[in-house]
Symmetry: C2
Subunit: 115 residues, 2 copies
DNA sequence: CAGTATCCTCTTCGATACTG
DNA sequence: CAGTATCGAAGAGGATACTG
């Protein structure tokens, strides 16, 4: 791994993943496949329509997800992971695995501090 | 990988890694070992003293790095990765590897758009 | 040397209301 | 249904000056 500023490419992946709901959006689409906007909204409690829209647009802009508009009334818009987006899965899995251990670490730390 | 909100632990790792200079700090310490504050500052062009201090404190708070103060004049403070912090390396490597491919993808996209 | 202290700007996110 | 538009709060990061 080369850390010279011009050769360190960690930021690219990080900037795509950063966003309060982006990991959840990606994990949800990875697991459940194509989803309508309203399905995502329902599946992600707490997110507002405005913010969900924005995060989806940003992921689309990066070619991580695809947005398909079905021209009908009422509107139907479907989102899915692109093949390129699927390449992020190892990173998400690495973070998920780490997070699981982190939970234990946090608990141990709290126990230690409460002695 | 479980994406149910209470079981999805992607956010834990992400929140630790997020910060304009944190990945660079970690990669630098991972590669070069223990470093003084001034060495880090010199190695990371663009960061201000205030922000570098803050990001180091946050990483320390998470037990990712260790801060050792040598009580002497002039002051000497050394930072190093903890064993726990080293566990983040696979994530950083996964992101770095992805970023390398991402560079190619971006170039291809730009070429495509400029046709 | 290794920080604090202020002041500032920019972005992110949320609440709420409106629309084709 | 799938968005926009507007307003507001909070935090990240930067410029600059000061200090034990």
């Amino acid at each position: 791994m080369n850390i010279e500023p011009t050769l360190c490419r960690v930021e690219d992946a990080l900037s795509i993943l950063v966003g309060k709901w982006k990991p959840i959006i990606l994990l949800y689409l990875l697991k459940n496949g194509t989803q309508r906007f309203s399905e995502l909204k329902r599946s992600i409690p707490g997110v507002t329509q405005k913010v969900l829209t924005k995060q989806l647009r940003e992921l689309e802009e990066e070619d991580i997800i695809e947005r398909v508009v079905h021209p009908q009334v009422p509107p139907k818009v479907e989102y899915s992971i692109t093949e390129y987006g699927m390449s992020l899965q190892p990173i998400l899995e690495a973070m998920h695995e780490w997070g699981t251990k982190h939970t234990l670490h946090k608990q141990q730390k709290m126990n230690k501090e409460s002695i």
